[in-house]
């Protein structure tokens, strides 16, 4: 078990007090490819940002990779994200002034686990994995949205994270690019990478191992996908 969320409650206070999350409890196993689905405003993104450790104002307990993350300092959480989490966002993919390769390397440089040349090797390897090796030296601002999103996935992978989190990773992409990104995730999951994504793309969700459906801040159904189980 790589992630466990216990009795998560969260309120918004502005403009009025409003409970976005109601007693959310679930676990994620190593190697699971999970989708959180639900209508707009059901709290699925809010839940993801709680899990991402960037939003720390909640009640309840979150534990990841054997570490309790509730009530930790910002600096501790930053280091934890660097080492254990990879992110793929809907917008704002890369730092525009840097090349694709530099973008992928940045979190690795921050972690400082590998020397520079080895890190570059690893970054190239990740880019090859998502089929972007030919664009490594291009500035991120010169890449298309789909290409940027693939580079962002490579960046999420650079530190071999415990979990990759995606916030509508295909939400801003056209059909072809969406499928491309989905297949990359699928391949990663097949290799044992734990992935949690928020999505409202039913096709995307259908391809995952497990779907958590949310409504009004509650989990209304969580089930294993039959297709996957059959396979």
């Amino acid at each position: 078990m790589v992630l466990s969320a216990r009795h998560l409650n969260k309120y918004f206070y502005d403009p009025d007090q409003f409970q976005v999350l109601r007693d959310i409890t679930f676990d994620v196993q190593q190697g699971e490819f999970m989708a959180i689905v639900g209508k707009s405003g059901c709290g699925k993104s809010t839940l993801l940002y709680l899990l991402s450790t960037m939003d720390t104002s909640y009640d309840g307990q979150i534990e990841m990779a054997g570490t309790s993350l509730t009530g930790r300092s910002q600096d501790f959480l930053a280091h934890f994200r660097n080492e254990h989490l990879g992110f793929v966002f809907q917008f704002h993919f890369l730092l525009p002034e840097f090349s694709a390769l530099q973008n992928v390397m940045l979190p690795g440089q921050k972690l400082g686990k590998y020397p520079a040349h080895e890190l570059e090797e690893r970054a190239m390897e990740k880019l090859r994995l998502i089929g972007m090796a030919d664009y490594a030296r291009k500035p991120a601002s010169k890449l298309s949205g789909g290409q940027q999103q693939r580079v962002a996935i490579a960046r999420a992978l650079i530190n071999d994270p415990t979990i990759i989190m995606g916030d509508e990773p295909t939400g801003n992409l056209d059909r072809a690019n969406s499928e491309n990104v989905f297949h990359i995730f699928k391949d990663l999951a097949a290799k044992g990478q734990t992935i949690i994504t928020v999505t409202h793309d039913p096709d995307f969700a259908a391809g995952t191992d497990r779907i958590i459906e949310m409504s009004d801040g509650q989990i209304i159904s969580g089930h294993e996908n039959q297709i996957r189980q059959a396979g």
Partner: protein
């Protein structure tokens, strides 16, 4: 915190917006260049004025302050009574320093004393034909006086040594010689207030560049002036003292006054106006330089603030991928520091260039012979100070936007 990567990101940000970086840099450059130019020039002026004043005046002057006021006998007998004394004559008191030559020798043995010159100075009338001018004649031992005031370098014509061979020789201020229309070799009649008269021959002229000295003073042999005044060979009225360190003159002056009971005046008291002017110019220099640097600082603050707003998505991504707030502060502070240091160094160069140009600009001062170009001081400490000011200003100007950047909430940005 990882400085290598922070500096790599900072460099990329700076290079991505070259023009903006240059504008911010030039703000600092301009501020520091003006600071260097102004302070070098102002301090040069201060130094010049101080030097010319101090060169012509002693560090300590020991003299007998003649006090002519005295209480009447009846006042002493009935103090507090209704005493009226009409037309009381002031007491005759000599300006003489008793044992002056011995006192001078003892002062000469004090530590830190560069030289002592006992002298007799008195008001006189200089006559040349119909021209009559009042002035001061100082009877001196010319070697000792020369050691104090470097008269050889002030000499405009003639020779100091003439004073040693010719008892009637006179070294005269240039202004006075011009007004009297005399040159080296001409004769001048000198009349003292007590009526003594003597014809002296001009053996040289000197110029300090200070009109109050050059237009009134002349030097003669001590014994000659004693003769004109009909005084004995131990009669002197002033002892001039120069120190190796002018600052030590102030305590020594007080000490000498206590030791010998004569009035002493140090250079700081004698040149209060010049020192006050110096202080005012210093304050002015710092106020103007400070204003320039503050303006440059606000320029940097604005540009850094803009950068932070422009880069807010990048900041959110960096935070999401594990950069902590210290990394973010470092990224933006490094940009400010780079702007400060490079702008500052450029400013130092331009400041040096401007001050150099000023220092070779011809400056016609008329009678002020010692000044041919603007006085400028090239002191390394001003350059260190300028760079320090520049860096501190940019640090402050960069710190607040950096802190703002580090407080960016990534969730708010990334959710779109």
């Amino acid at each position: 915190m990882n400085l290598t990567i922070a500096s790599q990101i900072a460099r990329t940000h700076l290079l991505a917006k070259k023009r903006q970086t240059l504008v911010a840099m030039l703000g600092v450059t301009f501020g520091i260049a003006m600071f260097i130019t102004m302070i070098s020039f102002m301090q040069g002026v201060n130094q010049f004025l101080e030097d010319s004043a101090l060169d012509a005046s002693p560090h300590i002057r020991v003299f007998n302050k003649v006090n002519t006021q005295r209480a009447s006998l009846i006042d002493e007998a009935h103090p507090g009574g209704f005493n009226v004394v009409y037309h009381q004559k002031p007491r005759a008191e000599s300006a003489r320093l008793k044992n002056g030559l011995i006192i001078a020798n003892r002062i000469g043995r004090q530590p830190g004393v560069l030289g002592v010159s006992p002298q007799l100075s008195t008001q006189v009338f200089y006559n040349n034909g119909p021209i009559q001018l009042s002035g001061i004649i100082a009877g001196v031992d010319i070697d000792r006086e020369n050691a104090l005031y470097h008269l050889t370098t002030r000499l405009q014509s003639g020779n100091l040594n003439a004073l040693k061979t010719n008892p009637d020789a006179l070294i005269m201020g240039t202004g006075l010689a011009r007004d009297l229309n005399v040159r080296v070799g001409d004769k001048v009649t000198v009349t003292t207030p007590t009526g003594g008269t003597r014809v002296l021959r001009v053996a040289g002229t000197f110029g300090f560049g200070i009109s109050t000295v050059d237009n009134t003073r002349s030097y003669a042999n001590l014994s000659t002036v004693q003769e004109i005044l009909q005084k004995d060979p131990s009669y002197i009225t002033d002892i001039h003292v120069k120190m190796t360190d002018p600052m030590r003159a102030i305590p020594l002056g007080k000490q000498l006054q206590a030791m010998f009971g004569y009035h002493t005046e140090d250079w700081a008291t004698a040149n209060t106006a010049i020192l006050a002017g110096e202080k005012i110019r210093n304050v002015m220099t710092f106020v103007v330089s400070f204003t320039l640097l503050v303006v440059a600082g606000f320029g940097i603050y604005n540009i850094m603030n803009m950068t932070v707003v422009n880069k807010i998505k990048d900041i959110a991504i960096l935070k999401a991928t594990g950069f902590d707030s210290r990394d973010i502060v470092a990224i933006f502070l490094l940009q400010a520091v780079f702007i400060g240091i490079s702008g500052g160094l450029l400013g130092l160069g331009i400041g040096f260039g401007l001050s150099y140009l000023l220092s070779i600009t011809p400056f016609d001062t008329g009678n002020m012979i010692s000044l041919k170009t603007f006085p400028v001081i090239f002191a390394p400490k001003y350059y260190v100070m300028g760079l320090l000011f520049g860096v501190i200003t940019t640090l402050l100007a960069g710190y607040f936007p950096s802190r703002k950047a580090s407080k960016v909430d990534p969730v708010a940005i990334l959710r779109g």
